[in-house]
């Protein structure tokens, strides 16, 4: 990141907001990914050391949203819709068109939804405000999310687990488990690989 908070080689004329931290060696391809980040939290976003966020990724954060991403994680075009908290661990692989959401924003009651939809057309920017509280999403370290999959509000995905392409994760996934389908269900248990090797820990240490 440049001293004026622009990004080297960015095609979008944006800046990284003050409440977004890019740790050393983190790569954010374009500030366009932050266009929908309207969080007013002091520590709204953190992108860990060596993590890369490529084109097509959108951080759609409401005023109280917080997205913290660990180290050496790869996000290759996901949409993160956050009103409370989305935590993503170290060494995660997140594929294209993945949706991670901690809030559906609109109320389940149709009468309440009408109220929000009546208001939004008169609001500048026309962004929906949440009517229901967010339910934090946690994705632990070493998780792989296949392309086009959805992670729904309140879900925790355990360390080392894998979500197959186009799956919809509606409930917690235990560690080292492969889940697939809609709704996603476990199909395989993986062998835990043991502790992260010391040379890798040294590489990502701050």
């Amino acid at each position: 990141m440049n001293p004026d908070r622009t990004l080297e080689g960015d095609w979008h004329p944006g800046r990284v907001p003050e409440n977004v931290t890019l740790e050393e060696g983190a790569y954010l391809e374009t500030t366009y990914s932050l266009l929908l980040c309207r969080s007013v939290e002091p520590d709204a976003m953190r992108i860990g050391k060596g993590t890369s966020i490529y084109l097509g990724t959108m951080f759609d954060l409401g005023p109280g949203g917080r997205v913290h991403i660990g180290r050496c994680t790869l996000i290759n075009g996901a949409r993160i819709q956050c009103e409370a908290s989305v935590e993503i661990g170290d060494f995660c692989l997140i594929s294209w068109n993945v949706l991670i959401m901690d809030c559906e924003r609109l109320a389940t009651d149709p009468v309440a939804r009408r109220a929000a939809l009546s208001l939004v057309s008169s609001r500048p920017g026309r962004l929906l405000e949440r009517q229901v509280p967010g339910r934090p999403v946690r994705i632990r370290q070493n998780v792989w999310l296949g392309f086009d999959c959805c992670v729904l509000p309140g879900v925790e995905i355990g360390e080392g687990s894998v979500v197959g392409a186009r799956s919809v994760v509606t409930r917690d996934v235990p560690p080292y488990t492969v889940v697939v389908g809609n709704p996603a269900r476990p199909v395989r248990i993986l062998e835990p690989g043991g502790p992260v090797p010391p040379e890798i820990l040294a590489l990502v240490a701050s």
């Binding site: 609109l106 057309s121 999959c149």
Partner: protein, 210 residues
């Protein structure tokens, strides 16, 4: 459909709207590509009511397609694929990357599919494509469709129903119901995908009012 009349200011900032598109007051259409695949020749092919937000919507409407959208609708990056008819009510909210289609675009029968593949190829430019089944999609007032959902041809979504993110809907959903999964099944008052169909779930209102 109600109160469709030309907007006072331009609802779309990327040139003139196609002449058979009628847009109500205070409705906004974003994205340069909105009409890139708009081919309908029907008069009034696309009618959108007032106070709608059509953010990044693809209006991929074929030569004979007709789409009606009510008032106060809110769509984000929705792909509308229409060869016949999509009718959408008022106060309908549809999340990011959802697709709605009223056709399968190709025939099911293998021999017909060969004929279609040839007709679609540069070698078959003069050949007519075989008939392809189309069935209108009807989405009633107050429906909520989550992101990444798919709604297939012939489906009617009853008033106030909810479609969970990532669902693929192949059958009608009763008014007030909540569905999820692939294929979408009624959710039993939970928001977690459920365990498949349950005998009591048809038509049961899913609003979890206290």
């Amino acid at each position: 459909m109600s109160s469709s009349h030309p907007a006072s200011s331009s609802p779309w900032s990327h040139g003139p709207l196609p002449s058979n598109v009628i847009v109500g007051d205070n409705t906004l259409i974003t994205a340069e590509y909105a009409f890139r695949r708009f081919q309908s020749r029907e008069p009034g092919a696309l009618r959108i009511g007032a106070h709608c937000t059509m953010d990044g919507v693809h209006f991929a409407i074929g030569a004979e397609g007709r789409v009606g959208i009510g008032d106060y609708c809110y769509f984000t990056n929705v792909i509308l694929l229409c060869e016949l008819e999509l009718q959408i009510g008022s106060y309908v909210a549809i999340g990011w990357n959802t697709t709605i289609a009223d056709s399968d675009f190709h025939p099911l029968d293998p021999a017909q599919r060969i004929a279609d593949a040839v007709a679609c190829s540069p070698l078959g430019a003069s050949r007519a494509r075989p008939a392809i089944p189309r069935r209108a999609v009807l989405i009633e007032d107050d429906v909520w469709i989550g992101p990444c959902a798919t709604i297939l041809k012939g489906v009617r979504l009853g008033a106030g129903c909810r479609v969970q993110a990532g669902s693929l809907v192949t059958r009608d959903v009763p008014a007030g119901a909540s569905v999820g999964g692939n294929p979408a099944h009624p959710l039993e008052g939970r928001d977690d995908g459920g365990e498949g169909p349950s005998p009591s779930a048809g038509g049961k209102p899913a609003t979890d009012a206290p």
